[in-house]
Amino acid sequence: MTILYDEQQQAIADEAGRILAARTSGERLKQLLETTGAHDEAFWETCKEQGWTGIGIPEEDGGIGLGLIELGLVAEAIGAVAAGAPFLGTGFGAAQAILAHGDAETRAAWLPKLASGEAIGAIAFAEGADMIPAAPALRLTNGRLSGVKPAVAGGASADVAIVLASGEHGPVLALVALKQDGVSAQAFETFDNSRCTADLTFDGADAVTLGAADAAQAALDILSLQAVVTAHEQVGGASKMMNTARDYALTRQAFGQVIGGFQSVKHRIAEDYVLVELARANALQAAASQGTEAFARNAAAARLSATEAYDTVSRDSTQVHGGIGVTWESDLHLHQRRARSLAIEQGPTPFWEDILVDLLAGEPA
């Protein structure tokens, strides 16, 4: 793998950017903010139509068998428009779990549907502050799930979830179809409602145990893959906010000059550029190292710098815009919100810091 994009990859990125710019709108996103658990249908249709849902899934399973680099490029374009549904990322995570740990039957049942976008996937490992609980409160007994997984991204709409549960002999990964009796999804108010976040309550729902020998490690591997996709999405958002600030600073006048002429503004945007470029480099490096020994480390680094970049740049960009930046109309808050929902959904910064240090220190500390 290389860390310069080739022509085909560049074409994917350009096309994704072009289509998304045409088919998404800030107005629609703001409408979604005022409802709970709804997503942007047009966006999701685009993902399916463009085949983005199948990028990370092998051809024999109904996908198009490209890799993390290509999916990352699409995610970056999605991040730039703060698109109104999380399913591309959550479905990718679910598909990766099935690919790594599902039997032939499970693969056949779900991968083609996930690849086409007919089914929406979700990942439900976390319980509160604990992203990968050592002893999950959710229990799997005789193939039946009982308990709650809180705040699952995409959970309000997903058809299938990969859960981390306590089995008879410790933690297990399991697959559960969500459109069955015994499962209820309770969407709730978040600051970024198009993420379709919901509490999933299981009351004796049928579930299939996946063959992950070390469920906690398997969960971390899946989170790492998802983290790299999300890092690209964060880079896309951060980069957009940085450029928005730059453009505004080049036109907005105060005290007789464009505000980009004031070093306080100019250097702030330059520092943001640095954060974006560091995050971009780490995201691509992580994607390019999939399958190598360095992947876990690179994924954690990518996640950390992407989260820092998006949080910081959206904070700064709003600040550069002054009063206009905090209006509902400006759309900047769509990124402010998205920066935080992406920062939290797949494990906040302290979680990834710990993961990375454990890897670097050579042993869990």
Binding site: F191, Q253, Q319, W328, R337, R340, D354
Partner: protein
Amino acid sequence: MSPEIEAYRDTARTWVESQIAEFGRDARKGLSEADDLALGRRWQAAKQAAGYSAISWPKDHGGQGLTLLHRLAFEQEEIKHGFPNDYFGVSLGMPVPIVLRHQPGDWTRARAEAALRGDEIWCQLFSEPSGGSDLAGLRTSAKLDEASGDWIVNGQKLWTTWAQYSDYGVIVVRTDPSAQKHKGLTYFWVDMKAPGVTVRPVRLAEGRSEVNEVFFDDVRIPDSQRLGAVGGGFGVAMETLTIERYQATDPAGFGPPLQLFIDETKATQIKGKPAIEDGRVRERIARTYAMQSAMAAIYQRTLLSLAAGLQPGPEGAVHKLVSVRARQKLSEYAMDLQGVNGLRYDEELSRKESWAKSWMTAPTGRIAGGADEMLLNTIAEKILGLPQDHRPDKGVPFNQIPR
């Protein structure tokens, strides 16, 4: 503080606490904004009746004739309970006092009384779309109608707090576009119900809409409503902004108290241990405490200086710069520590109760009343004597400044 002030504070506290049931945070929960405003007017009337409005105004302006320290003592007690006083802060803070100062007389006295009872509200029409920080760059124009002697106002103001409920306002407009930018401005009071005034609330990202756009379309203002000289508007505007320099402050930057963070980190876990045992969390608690404790000490010193008759410096700039910026970061981190539960958002909770609400509203806090960059300029120029920024528009007639 002096025993006199402390005695005053004790009395005030007793009275304030007796009002919580009727007007406090819980009484406001779930009210429509109209009902909340109505409650607010009653709260203002109650304060007026009890002698707790306009505490530091002169008696002949309808005030209590006490000192700023008395006022701050009362406000420190009042602020604890979430009373509906927001609607009157600007009104009584700046517009009404400046009009009283420049146009004393029966009519103004009557307006002041109505404002103190909460019956009438005033707003301050300064900022414009073209310049939030650059007040003197405003473009709303007033042309003298030679026939009537009235001024005809056209243009747009922005960020006007509570304009939607205002009966009157004070306004700065450009009366001479050929003068340098600071010199062509004039100051008036204006009837917000006059023909040609249109108020449109601006929705903020966090959902509130206490600020407005106000459009002026051939609005007629009699010259008798002018405050100060023609061309002297910038000076009156500066005078207006310095009237209410000291307000009760909050080292937490008007976000949740640090104790909430401490309590939550005792209750949540990182890797199976209470989060408060984690060094990252400890670093943030300790640094935040040190900052807040210093801010509180500085504020205390300001009060002592006032009590000693000294004129304190522009410490307010330090306070706002540091406390709101820190609140934004701490709020983000508190959300992180909640894990996926950090996504939950309850519109009903205040920014002092909810980290998510505090985070969501922090950008507004960092911009309103002086963006960080302006505060740093204030510190650098006013306190440290460093040079003003280069200003290409300096000394240039306003209508020749490139846009």
